[in-house]
């Protein structure tokens, strides 16, 4: 977040400063693929929150799909093949 408007004057009692929140929101922004690719500085915190929720939901859906795929594969494949080979190929 480029601009650092100090709104903390209005919410004087909160120990969590707005700057702290802005920092965290910008960190979150870096993780979201959509917003990161758009390279826009002027993304509002509300938009970041919304995109975060959408992104987490899509990740959950991917886990569901992959679980289903693995469940079908588990029945048909032979898991005796070297697990170290799997780990090696994963970490390359």
């Amino acid at each position: 977040m480029s601009s650092r408007r100090s709104r903390s004057r209005q919410s004087g009692n909160s120990r969590i400063t707005d700057d702290q929140i802005n920092d965290l929101v910008s960190k979150l922004q870096q993780l979201l693929p959509e917003i990161r690719d758009r390279r826009s500085d002027k993304v509002s915190a509300a938009k970041v929150l919304q995109e975060t929720c959408n992104y987490i939901r899509s990740l959950h859906r991917e886990v569901d799909d992959l679980s289903e795929r693995l469940s079908e594969l588990l029945a048909t494949t032979d898991t005796n093949s070297a697990q170290a080979a799997i780990i090696r190929s994963l970490l390359m």
């Binding site: 987490i56 886990v63 992959l66 679980s67 693995l70 588990l74 048909t76 799997i86 994963l90």
Partner: protein, 171 residues
Amino acid sequence: MVVCLSIYPKKSLQLYLASMNSKSLSSNPCRKTSFTRRFLRALAEIRREEPNSSSHVDISRRCQRIKVAAYASMASAVGSKRAWSRAMICKVRNRAICRASMRQKIKISKWKKAVANKHRRDVNQEDELRRLVPGGKSMDFCKLLEETAHYIKSLTTQVQVMRSIADYYST
């Protein structure tokens, strides 16, 4: 069906994995290997315990077990230093202990809550986020954002590993 990991003496596998950790990886390598090992172990166990059929009922039950194993393995790999992983570990443990009747009661109360919320006009994004991140209900906003960032990183690692395993098995 013998679990394959027992063929490799534990020490050599660990040394092997330790040497893999020294290669540069963008995500946390320890977390990734820890998750992979745990998840593969769980998959082997599921394969041992579940019938090998391709019927829809068996596939969906295996699917549910695999899903729970994936989340549980990731939460264990992260450990207890994150609030979300602690909450996830508790949820998985309670799920195992919870009796059927209790589970039904919890389901009904959740359904009632969802019906009540359905008519709310504006969906508060913060509340939505709290619902999505494990343990999110009892955190202050700052903590929620921190935990969300870490949770997203772990989820992407989890998806990456699961996809690689599925691709490996489909070849």
